[in-house]
Amino acid sequence: MHDKNEMLLEFESKSQNESFARTVVAAFAAQLDPTIEELADIKTAVSEAVTNSIIHGYADKPGIIKMHCILENNEIMVEIIDEGVGIENVAKAMEPLYTSRPELERSGMGFSFMEAFMDSLEVKSEPGKGTTVIMRKKIGKSRRT
């Protein structure tokens, strides 16, 4: 696929929307003809980012999460945007096994999974303003000639 395609989705910060966001990103990414494994990678990464917005960004309070996706040149870009509390120390938050909410039995692997399953991960955050996670992944690496 060489044409650029773009979409923007807004949904409430509710845990039942985690599976909704995964389903939507998978349906959109399907245009790049990904393998089952690539699709699973994208779904897992989106699930982690959206869950972070719900339990950390909005701390289970009402809020709006945006999912912005661009498909271009066999690459998917996914942006998960919240206007929640933001992250004081992004480097600390990204440390494997670190969690600010151990009482929720968070494994502290969210960012590690995003990094492992996508090609690149960028986290922009400002306390009091919100957090934006930008992830990119090339699709069909193994098939391309």
Binding site: T51, L104, M109
Partner: protein
């Protein structure tokens, strides 16, 4: 919706999980997707059973699970911390490719053993 009458135990609301107790083993069969949304419910129900039924070992049966993220890792690690003090173990069974990748990348196989099916896990755990 779909899992109406499974053996004995309450399989509370729709997709979260089905629970079965065999001697001191608790078998947890998560639904199609194990994310943060249903992890909270599984944790609550599992801990109730662990206490009431004097559970020592836990087997996660992933037969019907096609998606799991780090919330699933949290559920397994949380239950591990509960039973480890009484010499209990955690096993996983019927692990498909998607769940296996998550378990591998998270390093969870260092603390849980994988079996082909629930019967093999029970046999090993109960000796």
């Amino acid at each position: 919706m779909h899992n109406g009458t499974q053996k004995g135990n309450k399989n509370s609301s729709k997709e979260d999980a089905i629970y079965e107790v065999y001697q001191r083993c608790l078998i947890i069969k998560p639904g199609a997707e194990l994310d943060h949304h249903n992890a909270l419910k599984i944790r609550e129900e599992a801990d109730k059973l662990i206490e009431r039924k004097n559970i020592k070992h836990i087997i996660f049966d992933f037969t019907g699970t096609s998606f799991m993220d780090s919330a699933g890792i949290g559920v397994i690690m949380g239950r591990y911390r509960k039973v480890i003090f009484i010499g209990g173990k955690i096993a996983v069974a019927n692990v498909n490719m998607a769940v296996d990748r998550i378990l591998r990348i998270s390093g969870l196989y260092k603390i849980v053993e994988r079996f082909d099916n629930v019967e093999a896990a029970i046999k090993s755990l109960l000796g």
